[in-house]
Amino acid sequence: MGHQWGMAIDLDRCNGCEACVVACHAENNISTVGEDQAARSRVKHWIRVERYYEGEFPDVSVKFMPVFCQQCDAAPCEPVCPTFASYHTSEGLNGQVYNRCIGTRYCANACPYNARFFNFFNPVWEKPLNLQLNPDVSVREVGVMEKCTFCVQRIKAAEIQAAAEKRDLKDGELKPACVQSCPTRAMVFGDLSDPESEVSRLANSSRGTRLLGELGTRPKVTYLQRDSWHGSENA
């Protein structure tokens, strides 16, 4: 045991197609909220592709940055929860126990990434969308918080399978929905406690940065980018 799940995202490969967003919604039973509620900023995109524009017109370039729960090792969301709904798992994930959540929303305020989402209403799936619900993922009722889990249901399934076959998990054997669906292979998922894994190699890359790492949250997601990303002074 002792896995420490992490991810690396190559921003130079991301073309902003948002396939990860769609895949995440499908895999994790994330309900859509409708046009009206979306306009009120109540959408629940566990992963979102942030767009930033650089340069002056007409010489403009757009940068895409997928942002989701960074599964911080020193997560600000965890200690503030009065009911242990958000807690740290033994595999380094920021767990969210829906049944414990009473909806103080303190975790969402404490999260510097705004990676947490609230169920303002009970979720609805219009027929026949209810038929695509993933049986491995619980649906969340009104009043509870939710966020990216690194597809913990896939992690658990793969671990159980490997244990049944009396072998260790292979690097790359296991992919969250976003990683699996990325057409440019910008995202890599793996075990940071294994120094040989692809994600460990990328996490130590000189191109790697941690989003808002200066806040001391120790995120487990590494963003890879050209130096030019840092701004013109470093170009």
Binding site: R100, F117, F118
Partner: protein
């Protein structure tokens, strides 16, 4: 007041307890109507989901938490001011203390409902109680919300005790004059008070202990409320200045609420001979000091944030100073400093009307302050892509209005049930000790310290 005899004091202060005027009934009905509307809004929110409020990503706290901090702040009126004045043995305090202590109990009760109102699943609020549950899970003591839970409960218990203790001799006085079912009820709450030297001595001792004990409790409560914010790595929240800033602001708004309540009581219950200009003058001076202290805190907070020039903080700084929240910000500065400062600083203006006007603007300004601490920071956290905005819905506005009406109604009811000015303390303050009009209500030599 010096001309008053103990008999007159008793008669004057018990007069509001007898009978209900038409004006009283109409106002009470109006306040009750708004409270019912607020209750309907709350139940609608529970039924439909928190989505009927204006809260949204990423501003997850809005009016409710603003009201929470505001009411808990107002509650510092009473207990803290009355406790300090008692310990300092300020003789002019005598007609003021009970009005103040009542504000504390009611404001605290109202404030404490907001953390429940704002919950996503309020029916599970009892999970904050530390009890050995079938879930095998204790609450998380690392969470500032749990500190809040304990601090507010402690404060509520102690301020209720602090209010009730000095009420006992007055309740006994009413009991002795009442007949029928009233005599039974007042007899039960008077706890068998007969005014023996031993009882007076015990009352004095208990009040001394409570007056001292309640001060650290009150300071801790608003420090912990501030830490709800200061513990989170949110720009302009994560600051060491927050605890003293909040405590000062709480006392500031508390004194303002007290002056407002006294000015209203004076008019409505015709207490002109008891709540004198000197009381407003003295509390006005206290309010002036707190206004200066408030301005000092805001200046220190803003200056260090601006000079530090940290990217995340500057976004929040400029959006309040110059951006979309700036009208509210400058309204707050006007309400808390620019308007009240000259009124309170110039002796000619520090009248009853003057201090009441200053207090009114300060109550509004301090509500705005709490709003401006919470909302701009949440709507402008680090990642610019995730910036947002917040606008309250009718549900939040109705519930907010309902709590103000609840404060008014509770105060009105209280003033009909218990003399709003402590009769025995007023009598004890008379220079000469005339023969007791009523032996029970007269503090004994053995009891006076």
């Amino acid at each position: 007041m010096a001309a008053k005899t103990p008999e007159q004091i008793t008669d004057d202060l018990l007069r509001p307890l007898s009978g209900i005027s038409g004006r009283y009934a109409v106002s009470a009905a109006f306040l009750a109507g708004v409270i019912v509307a607020a209750l309907c809004a709350f139940f609608w929110q529970v039924y439909a989901g928190l989505g009927v409020s204006g809260l949204r990503w990423p501003v997850f706290w809005g009016f409710y938490i603003t009201n929470f901090v505001f009411w808990i702040g107002l509650s510092h009126a009473g207990t803290l001011i009355s406790a300090i004045l008692r310990i300092a043995n300020a003789t002019w305090r005598r007609p003021v203390t009970r009005c103040a202590e009542v504000i504390t109990v009611f404001a605290l009760s109202i404030g404490a409902t907001f953390p429940v109102i704002h919950l996503g699943r309020p029916w599970l609020a009892f999970w904050l109680f530390p009890y050995p549950s079938e879930r095998g899970l204790w609450p998380n003591i690392r969470s500032p919300l749990l500190w809040d839970f304990f601090a507010i409960n402690t404060y509520l218990m102690s301020s209720v005790t602090f209010l009730l203790l000095p009420m006992v001799p007055d309740l006994a006085l009413i009991r002795d004059r009442a007949t029928g079912w009233k005599k039974k009820i007042y007899g039960a709450v008077a706890l068998g008070w007969t005014g023996t030297p031993k009882q007076w001595h015990r009352l004095e001792t208990a009040m001394h202990i409570m007056a001292i004990a309640v001060i650290p409790v009150a300071v801790s409560v608003h420090s912990i409320v501030s830490w709800d914010f200061a513990m989170a790595p949110v720009p302009m929240w994560h600051s060491t200045i927050f605890a003293p800033y909040f405590v000062a602001g709480a006392i500031f708004s508390g004194i303002a609420a007290l002056i407002l309540a006294m000015a209203l009581l004076r008019k409505l219950l015709r207490l002109e001979e008891y709540l004198l200009p000197i009381h407003f003058e003295n509390l006005g001076k206290l309010l002036l000091v707190m206004s200066l202290l408030w301005f000092y805190f805001v200046f220190a907070e803003r200056l260090t944030a601006w000079y530090g020039n940290e990217t995340g903080e500057m976004a929040v700084f400029w959006v309040t100073q110059h951006g979309s929240y700036s009208p509210l910000f400058w309204a707050m500065v006007a309400c808390n400093f620019l308007i009240p400062f000259p009124i309170l600083a110039i002796k000619k203006l520090r009248t009853i009307t003057g201090t009441a006007i200053a207090s009114f603007t300060i109550v509004i300004g301090m509500w705005l302050e709490r709003y401006l601490i919470i909302v701009p920071s949440l709507s402008h956290k680090y990642l610019t892509y995730s910036w947002g905005a917040y606008r309250p819905s009718w549900v939040e506005i109705t519930i907010t209005a309902g709590t103000f009406c609840a404060m008014g109604l509770l105060y009105m009811i209280f003033s009909k049930v218990v003399p709003i000015i402590s009769i025995w303390e007023l009598k004890a303050g008379l220079k000469e000790r005339p023969q007791a009009a009523h032996a029970v209500a007269q503090p004994n030599e053995a009891g006076a310290d």
